[in-house]
């Protein structure tokens, strides 16, 4: 073991970094950006979920509980009628609604209260603040003897038989495919550049659009086989619940694959080496992973981040996958139509961007 030779290797390594400013920037800037994002996401003044409140109590106590709920910091309540509740859950304007029944005051007298809680249920983490707020509102009636609190909870989608994997699974089935296809495309397109074959293709009668389309089809074939594998494993082995049409899931995945392939081609123009290509992962994938609603519902993010989330294609993809698998959405659902349209439009935009920039940096 020669300290001199070891030092030579260490020095050579650091000398390389001196010239690769981009890698340096990534090493020192990316962690701060990612941690800030995570910190803001979790601790930032997050938006309280919208909850409907129907106070049908004929007695006085319902009003007390309702006041307490209105003042809760965990949720943002609006008064609705119980009859409108399900429709509002479906259109996404509220994540839950609470009904204080007509005999609520009597229930308190009997020491056994059962408010109804209707949860939308497709997003993990949205239920907790609602139940928490309701629990706290019970303090307003705490002085009235020993009361047993047993809310009647039901779910529009999902439900108690759903676990965390069911929620994450729906999103991850799409994310895994998107992520892997992106990485494979960006690296192999970069190879096409560095091994000189792209220059040959450019000097052939091939048109740029043909190259991009050919790539897209090739990777789509591979990725769709992968998508089938992922889907079969998720549904048959992990037993992730699915209420939707398997072909719709597949269709959404195909659109995500097209977007991922073209994102890879487009971003390969901005990388000089495979090393730099891999650096796009923290830049492109991590923020989308945090902000697309996979981990935290977009509606609970701080307002500023919601604007960002709403322009990320993965947000729509994740939402679409959950719509299909958790809610059993079909093509007649406007929300699924929007999700599919946005992911498709993003794919088309990237095809155009990839084609337009293909000629750049040939040598």
């Amino acid at each position: 073991m020669s300290a001199h030779r070891v030092r030579a290797i260490t020095r050579r390594l650091l000398q390389g970094f001196r010239r690769d400013r981009r890698t340096l920037a990534l090493l020192f800037v990316a962690p701060i950006v990612i941690l800030s994002l995570l910190g803001y996401l979790i601790r930032g003044s997050s938006t309280a979920p919208e909850v409907g409140l129907a106070n049908e109590d004929s007695g006085p106590i319902g009003g007390l509980v309702a006041d307490s709920l209105h003042q809760s910091s965990h949720i943002k309540t609006t008064d609705i009628s119980a009859a409108d509740g399900d429709a509002k859950l479906k259109d996404g304007s509220i994540v839950a609604y609470i009904v204080l029944p007509a005999d609520f005051t009597q229930q308190v007298g009997q020491g056994n209260i059962a408010p109804e809680v209707h949860l939308e249920g497709s997003q993990p983490g949205e239920d907790a603040p609602v139940l928490q707020a309701l629990q706290q509102s019970m303090i307003s009636i705490a002085g009235r003897g020993n009361i047993h609190f047993a809310p009647k909870v039901d779910y529009l989608y999902g439900g108690p038989e759903y676990d965390t994997l069911d929620y994450f699974g729906a999103a991850f089935v799409g994310l895994i495919v998107f992520f892997l296809v992106f990485v494979i495309t960006i690296v192999s397109f970069l190879n096409e550049r560095s091994q000189g074959t792209l220059e040959r293709l450019m000097a052939s009668p091939l048109r740029r659009g043909e190259i991009v389309l050919g790539y897209m089809l090739g990777f789509t074939v591979i990725a769709l086989v992968q998508a089938v594998e992922v889907l079969v494993f998720a549904l048959a082995v992990l037993r992730i619940q699915n209420h939707g049409n398997v072909f719709l899931i597949f269709g959404m995945e195909a659109l995500m694959v097209i977007a991922a392939v073209n994102l890879g081609i487009f971003l390969s123009m901005f990388a000089r080496s495979e090393f730099q290509a891999v650096q796009f992962i923290p830049l492109v994938i991590v923020p989308q992973f945090l902000l697309s609603g996979i981990l935290f519902p977009v509606s609970s993010e701080p307002q500023a981040l919601q604007y960002v989330s709403n322009v990320l294609p993965l947000t729509y993809a994740v939402n679409g996958m959950r719509d299909i698998m958790v809610k059993g959405a079909d093509l007649t659902w406007p929300s699924l139509q929007l999700d599919l349209a946005v992911v498709a439009a993003f794919g088309i935009l990237l095809i155009a961007a990839g084609t337009a920039t293909l000629r750049r940096r040939l040598g």
Binding site: G196, R200, P205
Partner: protein, 238 residues
């Protein structure tokens, strides 16, 4: 005397930022001749070849190939281009590489003939990554000529290959030219220059001299091509 030119390069200039890669170069290549583009590394040979196949666009002057002003996608079908590095797909076989380049030119019937010409038909099933440098170079040549182009652009095709293979390559080139193909071959190896019908000497982006090897010798005042080249290069520098 009316002559038919496969390539006409007329007063072409090309810069990359502040660097002037080509400065007012004019070259005419006759149909069916082997034209040697000679000059040291960085002289502008590759830039000139890229202009001919439309990969780059000239800032000034005009490039006409097979009667069409470049860049022109329609002409590309009739051009074969062998890049400096053996640009191949390493993960697939020799035949799959050649078949791919044949397919994008719409000429799949030429695969066997191309592989036989470069004597790789027996090795057609070998994966390119496992081949020696010389075999890769031959495979690269097969990819460039599989669609029987009228004009073959060869950018330093003999760099890094042994003398025996070099002789073989020139034998292929002669056969192609005899069949009517026009070849532009760039090189910085002077002993290859004698095998060309005409030469263009390039240095610092300028055409120093042009003519048959005998004419170049006469212009440089030496029986040795290398000495003649150095004499011509020295004359323009002073």
């Amino acid at each position: 005397m009316s002559e038919s030119f496969a390539v006409e390069i007329d007063g072409v200039s090309k810069s990359f930022g502040a660097f002037k890669a080509l400065n007012g170069v004019s070259v005419r290549v006759r149909q069916g001749e082997i034209y040697g583009l000679l000059g040291p590394n960085g002289a502008g040979k590759t830039t000139l070849i890229r202009l001919v196949c439309g990969l780059l666009e000239a800032h000034a002057g005009a490039v006409t190939v097979l009667g069409q002003r470049m860049p022109n996608v329609g002409v590309l079908r009739h051009i074969g281009y062998m890049t400096q590095q053996a640009a191949l797909y390493p993960a697939i076989s020799v035949e799959e590489n050649v078949r791919f380049f044949a397919a994008i030119n719409g000429a799949e019937e030429g695969v066997k003939e191309a592989l036989e010409l470069v004597q790789l038909w027996e090795r057609r099933g070998s994966v390119v990554a496992t081949l020696s440098g010389g075999m890769r170079q031959r495979c690269s040549l097969a990819c460039a000529l599989v669609h029987r182009p009228e004009l073959l652009l060869l950018d330093e095709p003999t760099v890094g290959i042994d003398p025996q293979l070099r002789v073989q390559f020139w034998e292929y080139f002669r056969r192609l030219a005899a069949g009517g193909t026009t070849l532009i071959v760039s090189s910085h190896v002077m002993d290859e220059a004698d095998r060309c019908q005409r030469l263009g000497l390039i240095q610092y982006g300028r055409l120093l001299a042009e003519g048959t090897p005998a004419e170049i010798r006469a212009q440089g005042g030496s029986q040795n091509l290398e000495a003649a080249f150095l004499a011509l290069a020295g004359r323009t520098e002073s």
